[in-house]
């Protein structure tokens, strides 16, 4: 119906993933922040995972879009 849901999903996770990745990078030295997560920079890892997922969704969305045009 109307829109391809892969676009908004891809866009949102790319955006949120990038946000968390940057936040993770900037707070990397903050040991107090990551003491809860056992010293793991969980923001960075989650961010990268979401970024990857978002980009894969976008690639699929563009491919569907292209094949529909043809």
């Amino acid at each position: 119906m109307g829109i391809d849901i892969k676009f908004p999903i891809g866009l949102m996770f790319t955006l949120l993933g990038a946000l968390l990745t940057f936040y993770g990078l900037f707070t990397n030295a903050d040991a107090a922040l990551y003491s809860r997560s056992l010293g793991v920079n969980i923001n960075l890892w989650s961010g990268l995972g979401m970024l990857l997922f978002g980009l894969i969704m976008l690639v699929f969305a563009f491919r569907t879009h292209q094949s529909k045009k043809r």
């Binding site: 949102m12 996770f13 946000l19 990551y34 997560s37 969980i42 989650s46």
Partner: protein, 576 residues
């Protein structure tokens, strides 16, 4: 225990971005909502994977997530019975044997299928009950959400209620069922990604699965069970006393695996509606099967952290606590919240909270979008203003009614939320009533689909009889230690069940058996008013078999079903 969090700017930013997308999807769909069919049935155009994820997401509401994580702590891996035996077989059955009739009959709702197969009174009874219950359910999840926001985030109860209602109203009013479905897919991904860090961190903290198992042994032994009870599923179901569920294997099999799960998955319109929105009959059959694949793995996402929480709770120096209801009795509903607090720093914490809020709201949206369909087609169109024959004005009119029903549904939900805040037991009450309605409904629909002799009078009587027997059974039995009459025994106390779960199972089994017997007997003594021609496409023996020859072998429902059952079997054996 202090349940509150302090969120930082990054957490709020994540939350805001999510809700901008949620409303944005509704906004983008607005221009496609020109007919009642587009608004209420999503135009029957959903790809199978979208419908499938929405199908499973509808069930993965916040109350489910919170409840199942709590059950993970209370019962361990035995909780997976709600998934591997309590959902998968029913979902496969729905896909292979029932979807062809729901979808192929062109019925727009489960009540409408009842009308086509049986008669007006059977539809009317089901439609009205469903409409009332759905709105109450939506109100209760709204209430639970507002309570959570008040306790955890320190937000104002009334403001939280109105704000969440406004967001739900916003996107369902704009985009109807499509909007609800798309947002369920979005919610599915955010909940998986938002909760994954807890699974990984809690297991890492406890030294992996084997480390957790080792630390569980003394805790479980102290409760009076075998050391590996919390990490196995069927091993200790030989007797009811050996496992914390308090039910034997045959009770689990018949109660959970058959009556309760088939009643829920195969007849609940809220769920079935997702599959009905699929774009083709093959897609409709594949919807529950695609949903079944993630469903099998959800236990690892929400039950395993619950088990970890039990270890943390008993571990000195872990700093992990749960709020207590009374001294020594924890409120396990807060398990997931406490885990979020334990492990997640600012950033992913926002993601986790957003995931919970998202699943509350999509639960409400799901209820509202099912309500407006049943209201518009099964109540308004049937009893108040029937179709006039002028397609254009009809379409406009029913679209308008559907939209108004959405507003009405949200407003009544708010009222129901306040009702829930006055009567704390309303949720238990609702769940009890639901199980009393679903089991007979499954009996009747099943007989209707597979036995052409089933008559309308029989179906109607069967539904009522099943419901009254369930009510009677509930009124005559109590679970051990029940404090209120909502739990049962309001007529007299004839039998005491060791746990509430066992009582629920047997209520459903009695209801189903009665409904089946009554429907069969009355069918045999009343006249079938429908001809074979009327029943074509509605009954198994009178419907031509669906051909799937043009579909690639790996996309056929039978292949997918075999695949799903194989994985469920492997998982069951692995965690036997």
């Amino acid at each position: 225990m202090e349940t509150g969090f302090t969120l930082s700017w990054i957490d709020y930013l994540i939350m805001i971005i999510y809700f901008v997308f949620v409303l944005g999807i509704g906004w983008a769909l607005k221009r496609y909502m020109k007919t009642a069919n587009a608004f209420l049935e999503a135009g029957r155009a959903m790809p199978a994977w979208v419908a499938g994820l929405a199908f499973i997401s509808t069930n993965l509401g916040a109350l489910e997530v919170m409840g199942m994580t709590g059950s993970g702590a209370k019962y361990g891996m035995l909780t997976t019975h709600f998934y591997w035996v309590g959902a998968i077989p029913a979902m496969v059955f729905l896909a292979l044997f029932m979807m062809p009739f729901y979808y192929g009959s062109k019925a727009r709702s489960v009540p409408e299928y009842l009308k086509l197969r049986f008669d007006e009174k059977t539809r009317g009874l089901n439609a009205i009950l469903f409409a009332v219950m759905t709105i109450l359910a939506s109100g209760i999840s709204m209430y639970a959400l507002a309570i959570l926001m008040e306790k955890v985030l320190g937000w104002n109860f009334h403001l939280s209620l109105v704000l969440s209602a406004a967001i739900v109203l916003g996107y369902t009013y704009l985009g109807g069922l499509s909007s609800a479905i798309y947002n369920e897919v979005l919610q599915f991904f955010i909940i998986v990604i938002g909760l994954l860090p807890i699974v990984i961190l809690s297991l890492q903290d406890l030294g992996g699965w084997s480390g957790m198992k080792e630390q569980l042994a003394p805790i479980v032994t102290e409760k009076g069970f075998a050391p590996d009870t919390w990490t196995t599923t069927w091993k200790y179901t030989g007797s009811a006393e050996a496992n914390p569920l308090g039910v034997e294997w045959y009770g689990i099999f018949a109660g959970l695996g058959f009556v309760l799960s088939f009643g829920y998955w195969c007849t609940n319109f809220l769920i079935v509606q997702r599959a009905m929105s699929a774009k083709s009959s093959t897609a409709a059959r594949n919807t529950p099967l695609i949903g079944a694949i993630p469903k099998m793995f959800i236990p690892f996402l929400i039950i395993v952290p619950g088990i970890a929480a039990l270890v943390l709770l008993n571990k000195e120096g872990s700093g992990f606590t749960l709020p207590e209801i009374s001294p020594g009795h924890y409120n396990y509903d807060y398990t997931i919240i406490a885990l979020l607090k334990q492990y997640l720093p600012a950033g992913v914490l926002g993601l986790g909270i957003t995931a919970l809020l998202a699943s509350f709201m999509s639960g409400m949206a799901g209820n509202v979008s099912a309500f407006n369909t049943v209201w518009t087609y099964d109540i308004y169109q049937s009893y108040i203003r029937p179709v006039t024959g002028n397609k254009e004005t009809d379409d406009k009119h029913y679209l308008f009614v559907g939209r108004m029903a959405t507003i009405f549904g949200v407003v009544v939900s708010i009222a129901a939320a306040y009702l829930a805040s006055l009567f704390g037991n309303i949720m238990d009450f609702l769940q009890t009533i639901f199980s009393m309605i679903n089991a007979p409904l499954f009996a009747v629909i099943f007989l209707g689909m597979f036995w052409k002799r089933t008559t309308g009078h029989a179906a109607f009587t069967g539904l009522l009889a099943g419901f009254f027997i369930a009510l009677l059974h509930h009124g005559l039995t109590v679970p051990e230690g029940a404090a209120t009459l909502v739990k049962g025994g309001w007529i007299a106390n004839v039998y005491t069940y060791p746990v509430e779960m066992a009582q629920n199972f047997w209520t459903a089994i009695f209801a189903w058996t009665t409904a089946t017997l009554v429907t069969v007997v009355i069918s045999l003594i009343t006249k079938q008013l429908k001809t074979d021609d009327d029943l074509k496409g509605l009954v198994y023996s009178l419907t031509p078999k669906l051909k799937e020859k043009h579909v690639a072998w790996y996309l056929r429902s039978s292949t997918l079903a075999a695949f799903v059952l194989a994985i469920a079997t492997v998982l069951t054996i692995l965690f036997w």
